[in-house]
Amino acid sequence: MFVVMHLAPGDPASIRYGLNPDVSESARAHFSKMYDLDKPVLIQYLLWMKRFVSLDFGKSLIDDRPVIARILARLPATLLLQVCSLLVIFCLSIPIGIISALKRNSLFDRVMTILVFIGYATPTFWLALLLILLFGFKLEWFPISGMSPWYTAYLDSFARCKDLLWHLVLPVAATAFGGLAALSRYTRSSMIEVLGENYVLTARAKGLSERRVVMVHVLRNALLPIITILGLTLPALISGSFIFETIFAWPGMGRLGYEAIMGYDYPTVMGVGVMATILTLLGIFLSDVMYAVVDPRIRFGKRQ
């Protein structure tokens, strides 16, 4: 895993640098020179790597501000959105999965299975549009775009928080949806597998309450594969942020990346790419740590 951490920034970087000539052709000559775009691709790449070590991504080709400052300005909004979505996914999908597994083939389980199937197939950006249509325009319950409009500057901090939450509802619903379907499905199958194990039978035979059997014996063992899936949903969530932040005009990193791509703002694209990769790796690292927390075998395994 750590090998990958060193590999990841380099490899996608070189893929993108291979495409660089397109950019410099379209740029004026002195402009190219200013940003070293006239040098050979390899030299550019080495220069970029040199600066990358100190987290210096250069300056934006659009407004000349340092890329890292632009990204850091946008990062909190993205993190807020992602963390809220993850919480929603966690809090909804695991209970849904547990109930489906315990009451297999019940009405609830059947309805959920069908919903999950539809959830897998739904284009999530379309869902976002439908949410806007229904809750934004028809019912007018939630604001359809933006994070903190101009008027929030005149509100006290409590009202500002409330307004922020209000703006979060639709983007989080759209972002969480895809992960919700996947994770509840995996929770269900993982729970069913563990429910068939002998130690669950033993626990029941000991006369433990059903609640204790499920919450302590089954859930703990079922959590392992769930954590793996959670780690894998992270790249998907971050990929999704590029679409959802554009649709909902959310002032986050995803929209910055989209705008940078559209404007051929090369250093910013690189910076966002690296930052997205770092976030993903961070997520995978966290899920590794969670493994160790949930499973003592992994914690002690290394020492023996």
């Binding site: 996608p12 199937f117 549009l129």
Partner: protein, 276 residues
């Protein structure tokens, strides 16, 4: 039991077959030329009617006809992109699982890099720099979606290469290439079929998202994704521009997923046992 799983496959396959027919015979199915504009005030943004099944868009074009032509795009992108990722995934996965050692090491690192990078951003970037058109979309989706297949094939190869029939082939002096393609690969295909069917749906989703962002199929060529983009600005009024293309994507992807799940149940004996 058996009937139930067949039902899934039959249901999914018949919808896809219908879609394929629509795609092939698009000029006959469409009620109107998908590019024909009518800018007069009462022709634009018409609600669905008998004349225009799915209404008209902001340029007075018939949405139903545009969607019929969009079927071509979605299906061909789905199939060709998955074909590319199949070729890459199977060859790399096969090499990796069969030879092991440093070959395996290099390929698996590559797979991990693919897994860690937010693929959609990579696709967006490459498409922008190469120029957005349908061929590039197919190629790039194919080039970025083989990692899962590769792992799958590798895992199959790892178990199969230790089996007796592979040993006996090797003892008889059968060349490596022939062992890989003739002896191991056919036995490793079952999970590949399942995964490939599921990823056709995935590729269609990615294509529609790209077209939606203006990075896929370029206007005026109709695709489900860019009809949605056109509808975004009129979402408070012209709901039909948003509802129908999305439903089409949903139904298509759902059908592919149904076929995939059905295949999984038919092909995976372990699952069949546990379901009983």
């Amino acid at each position: 039991m058996k009937d139930k799983l067949n039902k899934r496959i039959i249901f999914g396959a018949s919808i896809i077959a219908l879609m394929a027919i629509v795609a092939v015979f698009a000029p006959y199915v469409a009620t109107q030329d998908p590019l024909e504009m009518d800018l007069s005030a009462d022709a634009r943004l018409q609600a669905p009617s008998l004349e225009h099944f799915f209404g008209t868009d902001s340029l007075g074009r018939d949405v139903f006809s545009r969607m019929v032509y969009g079927t071509r795009i979605s299906l061909s992108v789905g199939f060709i992109a998955v074909f590319i990722s199949l070729v890459i995934g199977i060859s790399l996965g096969g090499l990796s699982g069969y030879y092991g050692g440093w070959v395996d090491g290099v390929i698996m690192r590559l797979v991990e890099v693919m897994y860690c990078f937010p693929t959609f951003f990579l696709i967006m970037m490459v498409i922008t720099f190469l120029g957005p058109n349908i061929v590039n979309v197919m190629i790039v989706i194919g080039l970025t979606s083989w990692a899962g297949l590769c792992r799958l094939v590798r895992a199959e190869f790892l178990t199969l290469r230790e089996r007796d029939f592979v040993y006996s082939a090797r003892v008889q002096g059968v060349p490596n290439g022939r062992i890989i393609f003739r002896h191991i690969l056919p036995n490793a295909m079952a999970p590949v079929y399942v995964s490939a069917t599921l990823s056709v749906g995935g590729a269609i989703l990615v294509e529609s998202a790209l077209s939606f962002l203006g990075l896929g199929v370029q206007i005026p060529t109709p695709s489900w994704g860019n009809i949605l983009t056109a509808g975004k600005n009129y979402i408070d009024y012209a709901w039909w521009l948003t509802l129908f293309p999305g439903l089409a994507i949903l139904v298509t992807v759902l059908s592919f997923n149904l076929i995939g799940e059905g295949l999984r149940e038919v092909l995976d004996p372990k699952l069949r046992e546990s379901r009983r």
